[in-house]
């Protein structure tokens, strides 16, 4: 990234580091989500549940793609899963800078209804530069996933 983009930033590296430290000390991944404006845009939340991080997306009418069903917008599901994966890296893998997403692939398995959408992430491989994360999203039953995704991130 070029310097001009960094200068136009809203928060500093120190603020990010303080946020990450606080989130890990208090075991509250939600603090990282609060740091990222996009999470408020779609209504994403996270908490630690039995050692793993559980992410969920609150049901909002502004997240609807097809109003006649109504079904969640496919792009919102994708954005939520990508956001969950990046928080997983910052919180679980203890990265100290924002990971860069390289590619993202998503399979839609069932329509997302207007109710809470849950997600859990699994880091399949962590290399020096590249991390592969697998993400599953479900609503009522974890055995009936709404979508699965995999994502590659570049890390420093």
């Amino acid at each position: 990234m070029d310097d001009s983009a960094v200068e136009s930033g809203i928060e500093s590296h120190e603020q990010l580091r303080a946020c990450l430290l606080a989130a890990r000390e208090q075991d509250r991944p939600q603090l990282i989500l609060d740091f990222i404006p996009y999470s408020g845009f779609i209504g994403a939340h996270a908490k630690v549940d039995e050692g793993d991080v559980l992410y969920w997306l609150e049901p909002r009418r502004s997240n609807i793609g097809n109003p006649s069903l109504p079904a969640l917008h496919g792009g919102v599901i994708a954005g939520f899963l990508e956001l969950s994966a990046s928080v997983e890296l910052l919180f679980g893998l203890r990265l100290n800078s924002m990971p860069k997403v390289v590619d993202f692939s998503l399979d839609y398995l069932r329509p997302g209804r207007l109710q809470a959408l849950y997600a859990s992430c699994k880091v399949l491989r962590q290399g020096k530069q590249l991390v592969n994360v697998s993400i599953t999203a479900w609503q009522v039953d974890i055995e009936l996933p709404v979508a699965t995704a995999r994502c590659h991130f570049l890390i420093n």
Binding site: M1, A5, V6, S8, G9, I10, E11, S12, H13, Q15, L16, F35, I36, P37, Y38, G40, F41, I42, R61, S62, N63, I64, G65, N66, P67, P70, H73, G74, G75, V76, A78, G79, F80, E82, L83, S86, M98, K100, V101, V102, D103, F104, S105, L106, D107, Y108, P111
Partner: protein, 167 residues
């Protein structure tokens, strides 16, 4: 002649359905082109959609949403009749981060239509179309609304007739 009338109606109906409802309304984009199998849109920068607060770059989720909307609309436009096109899968490659405070241009194109699947690709760029932010390929299921609804109506009518006959 009847088809031309439908085609003329398609653009405002699509614009209404995409721009004024649900997440499309929240994203705040404008559809700038609707042709058969191709849809273009423009989305302004919004600080609420930032994914990296250190740089002010919009979150990848916004780019996925725009590309999914654009390709989905292109898929619908390729079918030429009232239908829905749920996304089967989508793959997105990020070439470089978006520049903050600048609009994003998105174009979705259908490159193959079969009896049940529509194959699309999409591109997102800012200053230069030849230097895209992201590229995506997406496949959509082809569900003709009228046929599905029609068969449903016929089935339920037939059942009613049958139950009456057996009473």
């Amino acid at each position: 002649m009847k088809f031309n009338f439908k085609a003329a109606l398609f653009r405002p109906v699509l614009k209404m359905a995409m721009e004024r409802v649900g997440h499309g309304k929240l994203l705040g984009f404008t559809i700038t082109k609707v042709a058969r199998g191709q849809v273009d849109l423009t989305c302004p920068y919004d600080s609420k959609t930032v994914g990296n607060p250190l740089t002010g770059v919009v979150h990848g989720g916004i780019i996925v949403s725009l590309l999914d909307t654009c390709c989905g609309a292109a898929a619908m436009s390729a079918m030429g009749k009232p239908s829905v096109a749920p996304t089967m899968d989508l793959r997105l490659d990020y070439m470089h981060p978006a520049t903050p405070n600048e609009p994003i241009f998105v174009s979705g194109t259908v490159y193959k239509t079969t009896s049940s699947v529509i194959f699309c690709r999409g591109m997102a760029w800012q200053q230069d179309e030849n230097n895209p932010i992201a590229h995506c390929v997406a496949t959509f299921m082809r569900l003709d609304l009228d046929r599905a609804q029609f068969s449903g109506v016929i089935k339920s009518g037939f059942k009613r007739l049958l139950s009456r006959a057996t009473e």
